[in-house]
């Protein structure tokens, strides 16, 4: 049976998971430079060891509202194909192994399915698995529209 390794993190009081294959590193929040004329969930860019990385506030991207950043706020640096960016999340917990049969398709639970791959049941918790490809793709489309 196959396991999926995900990085678990929280947004508000909900638990989310991101496939570890896409994750480059987890960073503390560093000073952000605002970028003009971008969607509001794009918080700006940071300098990550000499590379410029755009940051997305995942909470506002997923329409969960916005909270103040705290000591526990982290940035998950992901790389999908050639695109590198960082997700701002409330806090990261740990890396967990989820058996693939413990994942339920997001569609069957009847909520906005675009951004999610599925829901994993893990030790009594529900973890929402983020669909990175969709999140990045819709970004590009939306900013195109704004142009």
């Amino acid at each position: 049976m196959e396991n999926i390794k995900v990085i678990a993190f929280s947004l508000r009081d909900e638990e989310y998971g991101l496939n570890i294959d896409y994750v480059q590193s987890i960073e503390r929040l560093s000073p952000i430079t605002r970028v003009p004329n971008v969607p509001s969930y794009v918080k700006g860019v940071i300098n990550l060891r000499g590379n410029i990385i755009p940051l997305i506030d995942l909470q506002s991207k997923l329409n969960l509202g916005q909270v103040e950043y705290s000591e526990s706020t982290r940035v998950i640096i992901v790389k999908f194909e050639e695109i590198e960016l960082g997700f701002i999340v409330d806090k990261t917990s740990n890396v967990i192994n989820i058996p693939s049969d413990a994942i339920e398709a997001a569609a069957s639970s009847g909520f906005n399915t675009d951004h999610f791959e599925g829901i994993a049941k893990y030790e009594g918790q529900l973890i929402i698995l983020v669909n990175l490809k969709e999140i990045i793709k819709t970004e590009a489309n939306e900013s195109d529209v704004e142009d």
Binding site: N37, V38, I53
Partner: protein, 667 residues
């Protein structure tokens, strides 16, 4: 041994050798008696052959070997150089180049070499065909290059008692359909035994690419008389010479003894040339290593991190007022400044890398167009950033082709206008300040102003009224507008309707400029201005509210201040008067949606950065000026693309990111 590790090295070095062969061949063309040049070519070819052989690219090795044989005859004065020989060698070099390219792109480096090999062989033995009919010995040595499979077939067959024959068939000189006769000969031969190979190849014979004789290699149980009788019966066959071959059973042996022999010759020659080869070696051996450009980029990134840390250390040192710490930080600052210069320098490459492929191109093109031309190259030692070098080749190719195709007249036309028959195209590079200039000029007929204008009006690029007011420069620059071609017919050379607009776009994407000057009857000059490097630029750091932005220096004309009352409006657009000119204002805080802070209450005086594009100006309104600085240009990555007004970002001394303003977008 895993050859893949060496593949890259092999490709790089092969290319170097090919380039040097090309260069030397061009020299040889103008100085055909100079055996030192032939020696130089020979050495490169020999090295190339050796490398290809040891990498297992046998086709490449054997083709180079044939070329080497010809060169060997040339340098020993057994042959004199003719333009035909040069052409064949050039063709051969092209083929080798294609093979190397194929290997580079992951292919097997195989090309159809038969034609060139035959030509090379013909050079080595020009009397080949005549000699064969004259003497049997020579006929027997006509070279069949057997592959392994054929060799095995032959050795197996001879073991089982078959004979191997080399048969030379000559057709009547006035035979009309040679290929059909040849086909009949093949048919007759196939009834008698098995055909192994033919010279020229069957395909070539079918296409009638042979004089009036061809040679077959065949296996048969029959006697040579029987074969002779059968083949001579085909009508219009003038002569059949059947030779029984014995020496061919073991082709490997024959081959290796031949190579031993040629190796021996080489070593003798090498001894002869020992002295001048030593000289040449000393000259060429500059100590260098190849570094992947990505590694340099990485080094640069790491280095900018170091600079940021240095900045922090500097602050800490100042606060702590420990003299030892301060001294150390100062020392570190000096060293890192030197280091920065060095790293930037490492990315610089001489334009020679691009320029050196042009002489060959011009030569071929001139031949094709039947024009006489001399290419003069100056300043090939000028250095440019590697990233620019990689991009500049194509536009230059286009401009040179353009100069040769449209700029220069034919020899007759030139003679008619009292010019020397041989035209001159010159390619010149030089550095000035933070820019490198490249000029492509020709002494041809120049640009026909009227023709350009008529075309522009015809294509609705300008209106007739506008056309009357244009300066010469403006007219010439119409050539860069898209879809514009002044050539009466689109020629193959200038690239099927792709115009100069592509060149202009490319140059501008490199942060450069291109302009044209022309004098009717005396030729035209294309000026290209390029930034020294794409990764480091001079910029003015400015502040809007609390945010810092960088404005590239090359578009800035001046920085000025203006009082509130100097700003007036024209049709709602805020403008100032600056040196007698009305300059529209761009408020950066509005364009960039900078959130206002409390500190912005008192704004009696405004800083205005005057930027220019062409002959238009804009004033960018900012809050304060931080200062000028060299900044490292960074891309915003694949996620944030096509941002308005922002062209990239840079990292400041405090580790923060500042966005770079693309002031061209304000126009």
């Amino acid at each position: 041994m895993d050859l893949n590790n060496y593949l890259e090295m092999f490709i790089e070095e092969s290319k170097e050798h090919l380039q040097s062969i090309n260069d030397e061949l061009l020299k040889l063309e103008s100085d055909s008696t100079n055996t030192a040049i032939v020696n130089e070519i020979f050495r490169s070819a020999h090295t190339l052959k050796g490398m290809a052989g040891s990498m297992g690219f046998d086709d490449l090795a054997s083709l180079t070997h044939e070329m080497e044989n010809v060169l060997d005859l040339l340098r020993n004065s057994k042959l004199t150089i003719t333009s035909e020989i040069m052409d064949v060698i050039f063709k051969c070099v092209d083929l080798i180049e294609r093979m190397v390219d194929s290997i580079e792109s992951g292919g097997d480096g195989k090309e159809n070499v038969t034609e060139v090999v035959t030509q090379l062989k013909k050079i080595q033995n020009p009397n080949h065909t005549e000699l064969v009919s004259a003497s049997r010995e020579v006929a027997a040595t006509a070279e069949f290059v057997l592959d392994e499979f054929q060799a095995t077939v032959i050795s197996e067959a001879t073991k089982s008692g078959m004979n191997i024959y080399q048969i030379k068939v000559s057709l009547d000189t006035n035979c009309v359909m040679k290929s059909i006769r040849a086909y009949l000969v093949f048919q007759a031969a196939e009834e008698l035994g098995e055909l192994i190979q033919t010279i020229p190849t069957v395909e070539q014979i079918e296409e009638e690419k042979f004089e009036d004789s061809f040679t077959l290699l065949m296996l048969s149980e029959r006697s040579s008389q029987e074969i002779h009788a059968a083949l001579i019966n085909v009508s219009e066959v003038r002569e059949v010479i059947v030779d029984e071959r014995t020496g061919i059973e073991n082709p490997e042996m024959a081959n290796s003894s031949a190579t031993v022999e040629s190796e021996k010759v080489e070593s003798v020659n090498r001894q002869q040339n020992k002295e001048d080869s030593n000289v040449a070696k000393k000259k060429q051996r500059s100590k260098s290593i190849r570094v992947d450009i990505d590694k340099l980029d990485q080094l640069m990134n790491l280095f900018s991190e170091l600079i940021i840390d240095r900045g922090r250390l500097d602050q800490i040192a100042r606060k702590s007022q420990l003299s030892e710490l301060t001294e150390t930080v100062e020392h570190m600052t000096r060293i890192s400044t030197d280091l920065q210069g060095l790293i930037l320098n490492m990315r610089m490459v001489q334009v020679e890398q691009v320029f050196n492929r042009f002489p060959r191109m011009i030569r071929d093109l001139a031949k094709e167009l039947n024009k006489k031309v001399q290419l003069v190259i100056e300043g090939s030692e000028t250095e440019l950033d590697r990233t620019v070098i990689d991009e500049i080749g194509d536009p230059l190719v286009h401009l040179l082709r353009n100069a040769l195709d449209h700029g220069l007249e034919t020899a007759e036309e030139r003679a008619a206008t009292n010019k020397v028959e041989e035209g001159t195209i010159s390619l010149k590079a030089y550095q000035s300040g933070n820019h490198v200039f490249i000029e492509v000029s020709d002494d041809g007929k120049g640009i026909n102003r009227e023709k350009v204008l008529n075309k522009a009006i015809e294509r609705a690029v300008v209106s007739e009224a506008e056309a009357k007011t244009l300066t010469d420069q403006q007219v010439y620059s119409l050539l860069f507008s898209s879809g514009f071609s002044t050539a009466d017919k689109i020629s193959d050379i200038s690239g099927r309707g792709v115009g100069l607009d592509v060149v202009k776009t490319k140059i501008e994407s490199l942060g450069g400029l291109i302009t044209i000057d022309s004098t009717p009857g005396n030729g035209s000059v294309f000026h290209i201005q390029l930034p020294l490097t794409l990764s480091i630029i001079y910029a003015m750091l400015v502040k809007v509210e609390e945010e810092t932005f960088a404005i590239p220096f090359n578009s800035i004309v001046e920085i000025t201040t203006a009082d509130e009352n100097q700003v007036t409006t024209l049709q709602g657009q805020k403008v100032i008067q600056f040196r007698g000119q009305v300059v529209p204002l761009v408020f950066l805080n509005e364009v960039l949606q900078v959130p206002p802070t409390n500190a912005s209450v008192d704004k009696q005086q405004q800083f205005i950065v005057i930027v220019r594009k062409g002959n238009q100006s804009r004033g960018i309104v900012i809050d304060s000026v931080v200062g000028q600085q060299e900044i490292v240009l960074k891309s915003l990555g694949g996620y944030l693309t096509n941002l308005p007004v922002i062209s990239g970002a840079t990292i400041l001394g405090n580790g923060q990111v500042a966005l770079i303003i693309d002031s061209n977008q304000f126009f």
